[in-house]
Amino acid sequence: MQEEKPPKAGGSPVVELRDLHKSFGALEVLKGVSFTAREGEVISLIGSSGSGKSTLLRCINMLEVPDRGDVLIDGETIKLRGEGQGRQVADEAQIRRIRSELGMVFQSFNLWAHMTVLQNVMEAPLVVQGRQRAEVEAEARAMLDKVGIGTKCDAYPSQLSGGQQQRAAIARALCINPRVMLFDEPTSALDPELEVEVLRVIKVLADEGRSMVLVTHDMEFARSVSDKVIFLHHGLIEEQGTPGEVFSATKSARLKQFLNAASHG
C-alpha cells in the first residue's frame, strides 16, 4: 500500500469548517481549526490521542456542537444558537436533513443490536429518508454484497465478527447515498487480521471517488488512500498537505516525532 493517489482537480466544497473552537469544561480541545473537503476528496485526520481529531469529525454532523465557528455542508451553514458551551443546534429540521446525507462509521460500530444486519442498513433510508421499501431492500442487499457480507443479511450484529460488523456499518452508511462519509477510527477496535478486510472496503470506496473524512491511526493507510492529510496537534492544524508532502517531506518537528513514534509503535 505504498503507492499514492494521483493529485485530483478540486470539485466544489462539500464540507467546510471555519475556525472551530470546542472545549469540554476547562479543557480546550479545538483551538480554531479550518479546512475544506471538496467533492471526491479523501481527507485523513491524524494526530496523537487527545489532539482533537475525533471531536473535529464529530463537529461535522453536530454530534458535538462547536463553541465557536461554523460548519458548512454543500455551502449551507448549519444554524446554531447560543454562546460558548451553551451553543446548540437552532434548526432541528435542518440538522436532520443534513445528517441524513452524512454517512458516519463509528469506532465501536454502533450497529443497532435489536435489528438484523439488513434492518440496520434499511432503517435510515426507510424512516428518515422515507423511501420505498422494495427499492431500499434491493439497494441494501447490493451494498451488503459489495462489502462482502451479503450472506449475513438476517444475522444479528452480535453474531458477527468485529470486521463483519464494521463492514455492515459501512453498508449502512452507503445506503443513505451520503454526500460525505465520516469515518471515526474505523479499525481501532479490530484485531489486525480483521482490520485488513475493513481497510480494503474503505479503499474501494475511496477509489470510486467518494468524498470522505477519515480519522485514523494507520499511517500506511492514510498515505495510500488520502488526497490530503491533516495533522492535528493540541487542537490546532500543525501541518497539512498531500500524503507526499506530509509523510515524505515533513516540515514540522512535532509531526516528525509523531510519525517516528507511530512507525515504531
Binding site: R96, I98, L102, M104, W112, T116, A124, V128, Y156, S158
Partner: protein, 270 residues
C-alpha cells in the same frame, strides 16, 4: 359412592359457588388492567424524569419517589373514594340549587342530585387504576434505570443518521430498554398479582370475599350445622390459584424476554 359424587357435584355447583368461580374474573381483570396501566404510567414517569423540561422532570421524580412510599392498601382506599367524592363535588357545582343544598340532611353529597352511584364495575376500574398508579411508580423507576442502561453509542448512531428525538426514543431507546427492564417489571407484576387480593376492601365481591363467606361455619335453622369452619380449604384453593398464576406469569415473561432480547441476549452472553 355415586351419591357422594352427585352430592359434591351439586354442592360445588350451587349458586354461591358459581358466583365465586365467576368472581375470578374480577381478580384477573384487575391484574391485567393494573399491569397494563402500571407500564403506561411507568413509561410516562420514566420519560418525564428524563425530560429536558424542568417541571416535567420534577413531576416524574415526585411521582416515582412519593407514590412508591405510600402503602398500597392506603392508596387503594384513598384513591377510589377521593375520586368518587371529587366527581360528586364537581357535579354538585353544576346541578345543586341552594334550595336543594338546604334540604340535604346528610353530610355528603351536597345535594341528592349530585349523588354518583358506583357499582362493582366502576369500583373495579377505579381499583385497577389505583393499582396502576401505585405500581406504575415502581415501574417508572425500573424503566428509568433500564433507559439509562441502553449504550449511548446506540442512540448516538440513531441521531447521526438523522432520526428525530421521538424516533430515537421509540425506535431505539424504548425498544432496547425492555431487555434491561423486564426482570424488574416481572417483580412489579408479581406485586400487582398479590395486591389483587385487596379488592374486597372496596366491597368488590372478589375471590377472597367469597372464599371467606363460603368457608365460614354454615348453620341453617332447618338442617342444623351444614359444615363447620372450612375456610382453610377455600383459602387453599386461592393458594393454588395464585401459584398457578405465578407459574404462568414466569413462562410468559420468559417468552417476552426471548422476543425482546433477540440479537441482544446473545450479545450479553459473549
Amino acid at each position: 359412592m355415586i351419591d357422594d359424587i352427585a352430592f359434591w357435584f351439586g354442592y360445588l355447583t350451587n349458586g354461591k359457588h358459581l358466583t365465586w368461580y365467576a368472581s375470578f374474573q374480577f381478580t384477573i381483570f384487575a391484574a391485567l388492567m393494573g399491569g397494563t396501566l402500571a407500564v403506561v404510567f411507568g413509561l410516562a414517569g420514566a420519560t418525564m424524569k428524563n425530560s429536558r423540561f424542568f417541571p416535567l422532570r420534577l413531576l416524574g421524580t415526585i411521582y416515582s419517589s412519593i407514590v412508591r412510599g405510600v402503602p398500597d392498601v392506603l392508596f387503594f382506599l384513598f384513591f377510589p373514594l377521593a375520586f368518587e367524592q371529587g366527581v360528586e363535588w364537581l357535579i354538585s357545582t353544576q346541578v345543586c340549587s341552594p334550595a336543594a343544598i338546604a334540604a340535604q340532611t346528610a353530610a355528603w353529597p351536597p345535594c341528592k342530585e349530585a349523588n354518583w352511584f358506583l357499582g362493582t364495575t366502576e369500583y373495579l376500574i377505579l381499583a385497577s387504576v389505583s393499582l396502576g398508579l401505585v405500581y406504575g411508580a415502581f415501574a417508572s423507576n425500573v424503566i428509568h434505570g433500564a433507559l439509562r442502561s441502553v449504550p449511548a453509542g446506540q442512540l448516538e448512531a440513531a441521531r447521526a443518521y438523522g432520526m428525530s428525538p421521538r424516533q430515537v426514543l421509540w425506535r431505539i431507546h424504548i425498544r432496547q430498554m425492555w431487555v434491561y427492564a423486564l426482570p424488574g417489571l416481572s417483580n412489579v407484576w408479581m406485586l400487582i398479582i398479590k395486591a389483587t387480593s385487596l379488592l374486597s376492601l372496596l366491597q368488590i365481591a372478589d375471590i377472597v370475599l367469597w372464599a371467606d363467606r363460603l368457608g365460614a361455619p354454615n348453620f341453617l335453622p332447618a338442617v342444623g350445622l351444614v359444615h363447620e369452619d372450612w375456610r382453610w380449604r377455600y383459602y387453599l384453593v386461592l393458594f393454588v390459584f395464585y401459584i398457578l398464576v405465578t407459574w404462568l406469569s414466569e413462562r410468559a415473561f420468559e417468552a417476552i424476554m426471548r422476543r425482546a432480547g433477540r440479537g441482544m441476549l446473545s450479545e450479553a452472553r459473549t
